[in-house]
């Protein structure tokens, strides 16, 4: 923190302070969990942790994009459930059918994102209200696609993508691929940088010639795509689907929590997807710690809340070194 501003490494650390902090917290918590594990580090333990972590990480990444622009997407959970319900009907049969099914599911995610983008960018509705409305709509479609829980999903395909290769969980590799092949190039493009500019100050961004509308729209489209991926992963984990409004709400709330823990400002303009990934893994590790701690069941929600509060508070630590006190009110 006290590194000289001119030093390159110091600057990089300062810029990435929150994601790094999130990573350290996660590493400590997960290390503690593995230490307390009765059977030590087994592949099955890592695969279990990676599957549920990657699922929430995808939803958190989806949420991060609109949040970076100063908006929010309350429909990410509903898009996950929508993609889940669609995938439970389509991801089955011959390899070609499975491939088409996967594309259709991801395409539906993008389409749902496009509806949000239309409402927010073209319709100029407040994101919080627009996405609340569309989430109900998406849930309605899910209910039509899957009126009662169930579905057939190809066993081998599901097992392969939720298993491991040489001891490395496949879901973790997929997550890294999404970050490296989608987010990394995008965040360096003009539109990608526009996300941050719009979130910091949309007026100045507009005056500087940033494509404000395109940046905003891309945030919601990207959110739809990532939430669609999450829905696909959920389908592979559960090999079935359920049009559950509770589950949708659960995903949305947890994604916002992961975004905050990962160091993305809810006011927009600063943060990133990598932090949110660690935020999601931190949230999931809280549950794992309860597993090894043998806490009494009625105390578990309290412990969970305390750890969560601790994680969020650590994320707020950089506020203490703020130079201009007016920034506190932003």
């Amino acid at each position: 923190m006290s590194a000289h501003p001119a030093s390159g490494i110091g600057l990089a650390v300062r810029h990435k302070l929150l994601p790094i902090l999130a990573f350290v917290i996660f590493a400590l918590m997960f290390g503690l969990y593995l230490l307390l594990q009765p059977h030590g580090i087994q592949t099955s333990v890592l695969v279990t942790a990676s599957n549920k972590g990657a699922l929430l990480a995808l939803v958190a990444m989806a949420q991060t994009l609109p949040v970076l622009t100063g908006g929010i997407d309350l429909s990410v959970g509903a898009i996950v459930v929508l993609a889940n319900c669609l995938a439970s009907n389509l991801v089955n049969g011959t390899p070609a059918q499975i491939g088409l099914g996967v594309l259709a599911v991801l395409g539906t995610g993008v389409l749902a994102g496009a509806v949000n983008a239309m409402a927010v960018v073209v319709g100029r509705l407040q994101p919080i209200v627009a996405t609340l409305a569309t989430s109900t709509m998406f849930y309605g479609v899910s209910l039509l696609l899957r009126p009662s829980p169930g579905g057939e999903v190809d066993d081998d395909f599901a097992s392969a993508l939720t298993g491991d290769v040489w001891g490395v969980p496949v879901s973790l590799l997929l997550l890294i691929a999404v970050l490296g092949l989608l987010w990394w190039p995008f965040s360096r493009s003009v539109t990608g940088r526009g996300l941050f500019a719009v979130g910091s100050s949309d007026a100045s961004a507009f005056m500087s010639g940033v494509p404000v509308g395109r940046a905003r729209a891309s945030a919601y489209l990207g959110a739809g795509l990532l939430a669609g991926m999450a829905g696909l992963l959920l389908t592979l984990i559960a090999e079935s689907a359920q049009a559950s409004a509770v589950q949708a709400g659960d995903f949305t709330l947890n994604s916002i929590a992961a975004v905050v823990i990962g160091g993305t400002s809810l006011f927009g303009g600063s943060g990133g997807l990598v932090g949110s990934v660690f935020g999601a893994f931190i949230l999931r590790t809280i549950g794992d710690l309860l597993f090894v701690s043998a806490a009494s069941p009625l105390w578990q929600p309290l412990f969970q809340g305390l750890i969560l509060l601790g994680a969020v508070s650590l994320g707020a630590l950089p506020l203490l070194r703020v130079r201009n006190r007016l920034e506190l009110f932003r």
Binding site: L36, Q37, P38, H39, G40, Q42, S44, V45, V47, T48, A49, N51, K52, L55, L56, P149, G150, G151, A158, S159, T162, L234, I237, A238, E239, S240, A241, Q242, S244, V246, Q247, D250, F251, N254, R284, G287, D288, L290, F291, V292, A294, A295, S296, P297, L298, W299, Q300, P301
Partner: protein
Amino acid sequence: MLDRHPVPHANRSDSRTTARRRLQAGLSAAVLATGLLTLAPGIARAQDASDAQCFRPGGGTTATVQIPAKKAPYRIAFANGFIGNAWRVQMLQTLKAYAEQPAVKPLIKELRIVSVGTDVSAQIAAMDNFISAGFDAILIDANSPTAFKPVMRRAKQAGVVVVSFDNTLDRTGKEGPLVQVNQDQTEMGRKMGDWLLSTMKNKNHVLEVRGVPGNSVDRDRHDGFRDALKAAPGIQVTEVVGNWDDGTGQKAVADALAVNGSFDGVYTQGGSVGVTRALLDAHKLVPIGGEGENGYRKLIAANAKDGLLGDSAGQSPALSAVALKAALAVLQGHAVPEEVRVPIPEANYKTLVAGTNYFPELSDTFFAAHDFPACGITLSAADITGQSAK
């Protein structure tokens, strides 16, 4: 209030240190065999003749689950879903209290309970963790009837016994040893229909207060109720949605009374206290069938003489204890029906006895149907709420 009296944390010996020395889950049985030597002679009595009455087959199948006996004591895990209502809290308290019973305690080396909330993937992960940690049996109150197919495959590979209860699973026929413990929801609805038909003076117009839409329990109870009413052709039924919730039910019934004037009888699937209060507020006391809340039974006992001829039958939180009992029975090598349908605990205005099947000193949200005598599960209300002196 019940919720403020959590069962004190059980001081179980920490099995973690011994467990860590183990190299593989496969070794755990052998280690357990050489483990605790506290196999009291009382164990045999824990699974006595009452089992046949308790483990009654249902759900249209008489198939049984039987595996070679494993050596006690066992490591049991419970992957609970959410914990946020009085029923769930009492369910957990009952499970812990039952595990502490002198006849049961020596059979259990460890009872690990994790509540994961409403997220399906977290509950699947919890089950995976329990399988990796080498537990002998896993209890589950499932967040989804269908999402556990893959994890059930892994449980089968590891030879873990799974007992689901309350919210049970859809059977695929490919799972390993799986026992499902529940009450017959259709039967419960039918009982209430029969009760109203036998108690109502006029059989013209009945109010049905339904539960959470889209839920299988709501559907089954509704089907059973309507089935029973077929015995009285021409009876008119008004349906409102009460979400099994006191507030929602009270408002829905108040509205229905305002529109329809009065009914000859009422059936509510839940939120019975609220529904009954709506009747009391409107001074329209009629025969009623409802759930098993203590507060509802208190109201019946107080107002039966004025016409509130009530019947109360409900989903008992003690299902968790029956599930544990079933898991222990399977591990001991007994044959247990795949689908256990425990008897429905029922009481009406004639059979209500204070301190036995309702508790004037306990809160309204306590579920009065708190035990299953047929299963040898006879915990006192004090045992469950943790108010016992010891």
